[in-house]
Amino acid sequence: MALNIKVLGSGCANCARLEKHVKAAVEQLGVEATIVKTGDFDEYAKYNLLATPGLVVNDKLVAAGRVPAVSQIVTLLANELV
């Protein structure tokens, strides 16, 4: 099953960092995943995001307003795969 990952947030330094961490985590796990980055306010509202960056995995908001470490993201993604 491929993972559907969204990085919510545009422009700010933490948003770019989160995207980098997500890519690293996906690579470590060696799974198939689509990663989309968006700065659309309607998307924020859809997931009840209040502070960027937000991480959405398979349509669930799993982290908001912070950048989890790569190892934490690996755990998050692995949980989704089980």
């Binding site: 330094a13 948003c15 306010f41 009840n48 995001l49 209040l50 502070a51």
Partner: protein
């Protein structure tokens, strides 16, 4: 030939302004302020504030929380816009969202500290008080004007603001120590500025160095230029060293500490201590005086180091330092460019022009200040040296405040983003109210500067706001009656829907 000497003169003026700002205004105020901003972002859970901004929160909580929440949440515009959209679409509604949007930029710790030190504590305080009062006012007005709209929102979606959290005690303590560091370094009271010890170091040639500096950066105190002292030169060298060490030590601090992290932090502490000293070059040597703030700054920093080691996980400290450095990297380069540009422009502007437009507290002067703020876009904090320039060239403090209120609130770019969230009609209505209230703020503050009693002004302000609220309430009530009328017809349509089954 003439053009070349003119260009050299402008370049000198730019560099002089830069050096004077780095040495005089930046260190004891901006360095702690950046650390505070980083701590607010990294160590204070956002839910501690956002839980007061949900749909269920009563008005007398959600409006003040929006106004004061800006202090914690609105350190940079990338946190303002998502939260603004969130409060509007899923939280307390349009009014508190607008209040948050208006007050946030005015009370963020960086702008506040910098305004206070570079221009004056009076303007900084006026900016806080008036922006909170008017922010709540504009929020209430918008909520009343677009009441129908909020009713529609109330029906939609789950509450995004249900989560709550409290601020850990260690975070409170750290913030208190940082604020003390900021105040001890910048507050001009005898306790901190009086000298308690003095030594003369046998370093020769510092007086000659001062003479050279004066030649390199010629200054004219009458035009508000400051020049560079020997102490300033030492601090600038230290700042450059911090920049180098921080680049290696803090850029990747989110992944772990390294030796350069320690070097950068030690250099930053040294710089603050040197900045708190008073160095006077003399023929025989360098006289070093130890004012109260030297000891206060030292004690505060020692406390911060102990607390950071004992009270926090290493990851939290990493996060704090990373956020701090992120703010520095994002804001500081633009600030340097801005300050340099202000210095270059300074000799080209004739004081008579400024005085003619905004030399006294007139309606025209205040409107000019607001318009300049709206149509010029300056990066965060650069509005402060620009305001300082205007002040030096003879601008009245009233129009100056009007400019300072309008500039961070409104730029064409931010208006477009706001419009994308709440729609064009509401966005331009908001712009209109902000322009009006900023002008009013300038006029009122200017009147106070000119000697009108503060009680009269405050009383008048609140009476005016209350009258406005009352009038709008009447209007809204009338509008609500006309909305209710068609709603009475709703039951008639219900059978139609059911009959379709």
């Amino acid at each position: 030939m003439n053009i070349i000497s003119l260009l050299i003169g402008l370049l000198q003026s730019g560099l002089g302004n830069l050096a004077a700002y780095l040495a005089a205004h930046v260190l004891l105020c901006l360095v702690p302020a950046f650390f505070i901003a980083g701590a607010l972002t990294a160590l204070v859970p956002k839910e501690a504030v956002t839980r007061y901004l949900g749909r269920a929160a009563p008005k007398f909580i959600s409006y003040p929380a929006s106004a004061i929440g800006g202090f914690v949440l609105a350190v940079c515009s990338c946190t303002i816009m998502p939260l603004f959209a969130g409060i509007y679409k899923k939280g307390a509604g349009l009014g508190p969202a607008i209040t948050f949007l208006f007050v946030g930029p005015a009370i963020n710790i960086l702008a506040l500290a910098y305004t206070g030190v570079a221009i004056g504590m009076d303007i900084a305080i006026a900016r806080i008080v008036l922006s909170i009062a008017f922010g709540i006012g504009i929020g209430l007005i918008m909520a009343l004007l677009f009441r129908k709209d909020d009713m529609a929102h109330d029906a939609a979606g789950p509450d995004a603001f249900a989560a709550s959290a409290s601020v850990p005690r260690a975070s409170w303590l750290l913030l208190a120590l940082l604020v003390f560091l900021l105040i001890a370094g910048t507050l001009q009271v005898g306790l901190f500025t009086d000298s308690y010890a003095q030594i003369t170091l046998p370093i020769r040639g510092t007086d000659a160095l001062q003479a050279t500096l004066n030649r390199l950066v010629p200054f004219d105190a009458a035009r508000g230029e400051e020049g560079v002292t020997v102490q300033g030169a030492v601090l600038i060298v230290l700042l450059a060293a911090i920049a180098g060490a921080a680049w290696r030590g803090l850029n990747r601090v989110d992944e772990g500490f390294n030796r350069w992290t320690t070097v950068a932090l030690a250099l930053a502490a040294t710089t603050l201590l040197v900045a708190a000293l008073r160095l006077t070059p003399a023929a025989g040597g360098l006289t070093v005086a130890f004012p109260g703030k030297f000891f206060a700054v030292g004690a505060a920093m020692a406390g911060i180091v102990v607390l950071a080691r004992r009270g926090f996980e290493p990851e939290q400290v990493q996060e704090w330092l990373w956020e701090t450095w992120r703010f520095v990297r994002q804001i500081f380069p633009l600030l340097i460019v801005g300050v340099f540009a202000v210095g270059v422009v300074r000799p080209l502007i004739r004081p008579e022009w400024i005085e003619a437009v905004a030399g006294s507290n007139t309606l025209v002067g205040n409107v000019a200040g607001v318009l300049f703020g709206v149509f010029m876009y300056f990066p965060t904090l650069v509005e402060v040296p620009i305001a300082r320039l205007f002040l030096d060239l003879g601008m009245h403090r009233g129009p100056l405040l009007a400019y300072l209120m309008a500039d961070p609130e409104l730029s064409l770019q931010s208006i477009l983003i706001i419009a994308s969230v709440i729609g064009r009609r509401k966005a331009w209505t908001y712009v209109g109210w902000v322009a009006l209230f900023s002008t009013l703020a300038g006029l009122l503050y200017g009147a106070w500067v000119d000697g009108v009693s503060a009680w009269l002004i405050l009383g008048g302000t609140f009476a005016g706001l209350a009258l406005l609220a009352l009038a709008l309430n009447r209007l809204a009530a009338r509008a609500a009656r006309s909305i209710i009328a068609p709603q009475v017809a709703v039951p008639e349509t219900v059978p139609v829907e059911t009959s379709e089954h």
